[in-house]
Amino acid sequence: MAEVSVKNVTKKFGNFTALDDVSMEFPDGGFFALLGPSGSGKSTLLRTIAGFLFADSGSIHIGNKSVDLIPVEKREIGMMFQNYALFPNMTIADNVGFGLRVRKVSSDEERRRIGEALELVQLSTLGDRKPHQLSGGQRQRVALARAIVTNPRVLLLDEPLSALDKSLRVDMQVELKRIQHEIGITTIFVTHDQEEALTLSDKIGILREGRMIQSGPPRSVYNNPVDRFTAEFLGDANIVAENDGNGRLNVSGNPSIKIPEGAETASALAVRPESLSISATEPEQEGLSKVHGRLVQRMFAGAMSTCIVQCGSHTYKMVARDQDVPNLSEGENIWLSWKSAQTIVIP
């Protein structure tokens, strides 16, 4: 186990900059997510940490030692691929034991450690099968067992769960977290799924066009996005006010939106859909920001309901427990309100 630190890494493919001065710390034993739109450089960063790619400038440390000159074979990492990349010509046990055999571990110990790893992923009985005889979820577990059996210092996962369907995916998330917790390995994973990133990780890093926009604990990134992109990428955000270009916030002539102190020169104000309340009459309490609008659509989705509200030129999205949404029909004039402390200031 070891911490990983990425310092000012730049990686170019020809004259295309895939990673632009990226830095991020991954403390020992943590679970980290790299998040970003397609093509933002997540895989490139992961493969640079793994050692498949070498940075053009900057450096990568694993366990306080620079690994810039160490190729992937010597970095002692465990890696799991999106399509699992199990060796089709070998049995499950041989797949898991591959890294051990490469390390010339004695055959007794090899057998013991294969057994342990398969037990950890709850597949002890399937060691003799070939990969094509397993289900997607089982292959996934084999790939995980194979990645950790050599006791690597870091576990790297590139969209490990994206090939699974939704319910299996949630099971595997729980499983992945349990196993990671059990062996305490520093884990970095790439995902498209923001919810997955928020639930699993101790820290997330948001990439965009090769730059690390923001990194930090999920809650702090969610509540204090550094820019509008992050606010809208991580969860939904209703932009309630924007800078008018003269350094002043424009609340679209709506004085009932309160601008938090010191935020007059911010670039935008936002509010999360789940912070909003809806009512037929104007709410009277102190300390609320509110807007008047028309209910365009109300969507029931089991536990939660989503309302789309048109307020002048702005479209608001609101999410609440269905029982908290009063009986309103589409087309009615309504009020949206939120506690001013819930207003997100985008600097």
């Binding site: 793994a50 498949f52 992937v72 074979e73 010597k74 002692e76 990492i77 465990g78 890696m79 691929f81 399509n83 990349a85 060796f87 089709p88 010509n89 591959f98 890294g99 490469v102 390390r103 194979r146 990645a147 050599t150 790297l156």
Partner: protein, 287 residues
């Protein structure tokens, strides 16, 4: 309903396959049957001489050791040529499939297939020009090297092997290329992440996964090389007597078609036996 659908399917499959079967019947089965018939005759049925049924042509093979020795020599030649072609062709296919991308790959591919496009006689005679004493190879070597060398490979086994390898190399390159192309690059990356070096990856992953293609190529080479006669004759001269050249003699020089046919079928049987014996062993090696 499903019955009729299944029937329609069958009719469709049959109508698509029938041209191939027709072709196989006309082009291979009929002539081969005729030859098989000839091999049991005492003389060609369209000559002036009397002819009768006999197995003397097959007995001839066992009466002297000459034929068996020549067959053994041909099989050795087949193994040698196949071995050389695999050793040269597989790395070449690997580089084409895994290292080179884009247009240069297409260009190199064209070069690989080039021998297929030239007339085989032209190809063999150009090798003769290269390999003979005071030939292209010797002149070239003497231009580069500071000392004089005598290179006369003409009319020797190496010349035959060179000529045959050159003719049949594309088979092993093409079949290996297809097999290598199908190997997911992530498998190689996964092995590297587990600490495997290049040799381990080659031995444990790439070779086993591409073995079917490699073997297909090897069989495609081995079978015709064992019966080859043109290269041994032209490039081998006096040392170029093989089982294939003997068969050819029966047809074009001695006009003993029945003996030629019988020897051909013995060759076919031996080759089939070799393949049958080898296939379970090779299948086991694959896993």
């Amino acid at each position: 309903m499903s019955m009729t659908l299944a029937n329609q399917q069958r009719i469709k499959i049959f109508s698509l396959l029938s041209p191939a079967y027709l072709w196989l019947t006309v082009a291979i089965f009929l002539p081969l049957s005729a030859m098989f018939y000839f091999s049991f005759l005492s003389d060609v049925p369209f000559g002036q001489k009397e002819w009768f049924y006999s197995t003397e042509n097959y007995q001839a093979f066992f009466q002297t050791t000459t034929y068996a020795k020549l067959l053994w020599k041909s099989i050795n030649l087949g193994l040698m040529v196949t071995g050389c072609a695999v050793l040269v062709g597989f790395p070449c296919a690997y580089v084409l499939a895994k290292s080179i991308q884009g247009r240069s790959r297409e260009a190199l591919f064209l070069l690989v297939i080039l021998p297929f496009w030239s007339n085989s006689l032209v190809r063999i005679f150009s090798w003769a020009i290269v390999l003979r004493g005071n030939g292209v190879l010797e002149i070239a070597l003497n231009t580069i090297l500071p000392f004089e060398v005598d290179v006369n490979l003409m009319f020797s086994t190496p010349a035959i092997v060179i000529g045959l390898v050159h003719s049949y190399l594309p088979y092993v390159i093409l079949t290996s290329y297809l097999a290598l192309q199908a190997i997911d690059d992530n498998l190689i990356d996964a092995a590297r992440s587990m600490g495997a070096n290049k040799l381990t990856i080659l031995w444990r992953i790439i070779l086993p996964l591409s073995l079917p293609g490699l073997l297909a190529g090897a069989v495609l080479i081995f079978v015709p090389v064992v019966g080859s006669f043109m290269e041994p004759r032209i490039l081998g001269g006096r040392v170029g007597t093989y089982f294939g050249t003997v068969i050819e003699d029966q047809f074009v020089a001695v006009f003993n078609w029945p003996l030629g046919a019988a020897l051909s079928f013995i060759l076919l049987a031996v080759v089939l036996i070799i393949l049958a014996v080898a296939s379970p062993i090779l299948r086991r090696a694959q896993t």
